[in-house]
């Protein structure tokens, strides 16, 4: 069944998109990630123009982060104060990111930069996760007790001025790294169309030493606002948000996430992380191949729709 996308100006198959949304939703529910980093590359593989894939991906992230944050709201695992500071940084970064997006699009390098950013980030995160989870699996096989985390030594980053107390996270840190982290991820999220959870979560745990139980909820909470803001900015400046496309992905995604979460409970943590790492690396490899292999056609067209 075909449907015409009014903004992308092309016909697509509804079933393929619903399935795509459901598959990514299932994985995101299973692994507890937003799924934006899978949706955008998949849309690009499906020949949706990258500019539209990115902006529409941001819109889809809003739905999945609302869904996810509601769970954490009920469990009271959101640090609202920390989330708000991250969000302020995120909105600032997203503004810069959208400006960079517009600029790159006008000089014809957007597709390239989007692909490179994906390859670099997916490669790094996927590689680190794989190493960490394989080590964890090996340790548990050897029967040794999992290594206890060392008490967080306060590094110089956290000792910067403008300190603030975050009660829910039991933290007393400078807001400079918090704002900076938010801004950096906001920047990436508006260029890559991701929520940034796959960078935010490890960064909060390892850099800011935020307790693990509030990390995911807080990350999802700030993501709602940053992704909403990104969607608005892309819609008003680049006109690349296709609401029909986003809606199809959301429906599939929200439904798939519920089943994914159930499936996730049956697998062990480190096995789950190893699987996710392999998946991330596979997407990364596919994008890298497109960058390095000789393309079918070395010429491409950019049309400017003058309405």
């Amino acid at each position: 069944m075909g449907i015409y996308l009014p903004i992308a100006e092309m016909s697509v198959n509804v079933v393929v998109l619903l399935f795509m949304g459901a598959a990514v939703g299932f994985l995101s529910g299973m692994f507890g990630v937003g799924g934006g980093f899978l949706i955008t590359p998949l849309l690009i593989f499906y020949n949706i123009p990258p500019a539209i894939a990115v902006a529409t991906g941001a819109n889809q992230v809003v739905a999945s982060s609302v869904s996810g944050a509601l769970v954490h709201l009920k469990r009271r695992t959101i640090d609202f104060k920390l989330g708000t500071v991250l969000m302020i940084g995120g909105v600032f970064g997203a503004t810069l990111g959208a400006a960079a997006f517009t600029f790159l699009r006008s000089v014809g390098q957007l597709d390239l930069i989007v692909s490179i950013l994906y390859v670099v980030f997916l490669g790094t995160v996927g590689g680190l996760m794989l190493v960490e989870s394989v080590n964890a699996i090996r340790r548990s096989r050897d029967g040794a007790a999992p290594a206890l985390r060392k008490p967080g030594q306060h590094n110089w980053i956290l000792r910067l001025p403008f300190k603030m107390r975050f009660r829910a996270s039991k933290l007393f840190v400078s807001i400079i790294p918090v704002l900076g982290l938010g801004a950096g991820i906001g920047f990436l999220s508006s260029i890559m169309g991701v929520g940034g959870g796959f960078i935010m979560v490890p960064a909060l745990i390892y850099l800011l030493k935020v307790p693990t139980n509030v990390v995911v909820g807080t990350s999802l909470f700030q993501m709602i606002f940053v992704a909403s803001y990104t969607t608005m900015v892309h819609a008003s400046t680049n006109r690349t948000v296709d609401v029909i496309l986003a809606f199809l992905l959301m429906i599939g995604g929200v439904a798939g996430a519920q089943y994914g979460a159930k499936a996730g409970q049956k697998l062990r943590g480190e096995q789950l992380r190893a699987l996710l790492a392999l998946l991330v690396l596979a997407v990364c490899l596919r994008l890298a191949l497109d960058l390095f292999l000789t393309p079918d056609d070395i010429y491409s067209l950019t049309t400017f729709t003058g309405a």
């Binding site: 075909g2 739905a63 608005m232 609401v243 929200v254 159930k262 393309p295 067209l301």
Partner: protein
């Protein structure tokens, strides 16, 4: 969507009775008629054939019998600026390094002819008339390097043909009678919206005689058009609605699938 063809009605010519004696004084002329001035694209649009009827007036029966009248019908989409980019290998990666801008490139271009191009007239005539996907004039923004411009022009043509936005159908203009003809053109699934121009060219014994044209507006139908307009003119409001829809979907998904 083949029924679109039915939208285009016969254009009746009453000139059949024209006296033969007048032929030398009254040159041949050509007419095409569209029964509607707009087409709406719906959500399930996946391309269609478009039929245009036309008539040839004051035709010389002798020449007509020898099949020496040829007709080329074109549907030309709205003109848009287009940038053609060329990738080169940089550090092992394929990166857009060169580009050439063209102005007023028809966003779509569908041609139907009575016969193969080379059997109608010579390449020079096609170039002069800017007729046919291979001969249509594409105006570059800068004309500093003719070699490079010709390279990018060729690439532009072949990309447009590859995406189906440009199409050619030799033999798809058929004479139904001595005076009446029917042209079948292609509307690709990604047909651009805007004002399209239907043009018909008449050739006699290999020489261009006359041209006629009609306008056709292609729009998105109701809902799609509303969304497109909204996104284009009220981007912030459209963005706000998209976000609201996402929040509502996320929340509803939570409510419907709640396990506890």
């Amino acid at each position: 969507m083949k029924r679109l063809g039915a939208l285009f009605l016969l254009f009746f010519s009453l000139s059949i009775l024209t006296a033969r004696a007048q032929q030398t004084d009254n040159p041949e002329s050509i007419q095409i008629g569209l029964s509607t001035d707009h087409i709406s694209i719906t959500a399930d649009f996946s391309g269609a054939d478009l039929t245009i009827f036309g008539s040839l007036e004051n035709a010389d029966p002798l020449i007509a019998r020898q099949n020496r009248y040829d007709i080329v019908v074109v549907l030309e989409g709205p003109a848009r600026p287009i940038v053609v980019r060329r990738k080169n290998r940089v550090l092992g990666m394929w990166i857009n390094t060169q580009s050439e801008s063209f102005i007023n490139v028809p966003a779509s271009y569908s041609v139907a002819t009575t016969r193969q191009y080379q059997d109608i007239t010579d390449p020079g005539s096609y170039r002069r008339l800017s007729l046919g996907a291979a001969s249509i004039y594409l105006e570059p923004q800068k004309r500093d390097d003719p070699l490079r411009i010709s390279e990018f022009t060729t690439a532009l043509r072949s990309l447009m043909l590859k995406t189906g936005l440009y199409s050619e159908r030799p033999g798809d203009v058929q004479f139904l009678s001595q005076n009446l003809f029917r042209a079948t053109l292609t509307l690709p699934p990604n047909v651009p919206v805007g004002t399209h121009k239907a043009r018909a060219f008449l050739f006699k014994n290999g020489f261009f005689v006359k041209e006629t044209s009609a306008q056709l507006s292609i729009r998105k139908s109701g809902f799609e058009q509303t969304l497109f307009r909204l996104a284009d003119n009220h981007g912030i409001f459209y963005g706000f609605c998209s976000v609201l829809l996402a929040v509502a979907t996320g929340w509803l998904g939570r409510v419907i699938f709640r396990k506890d």
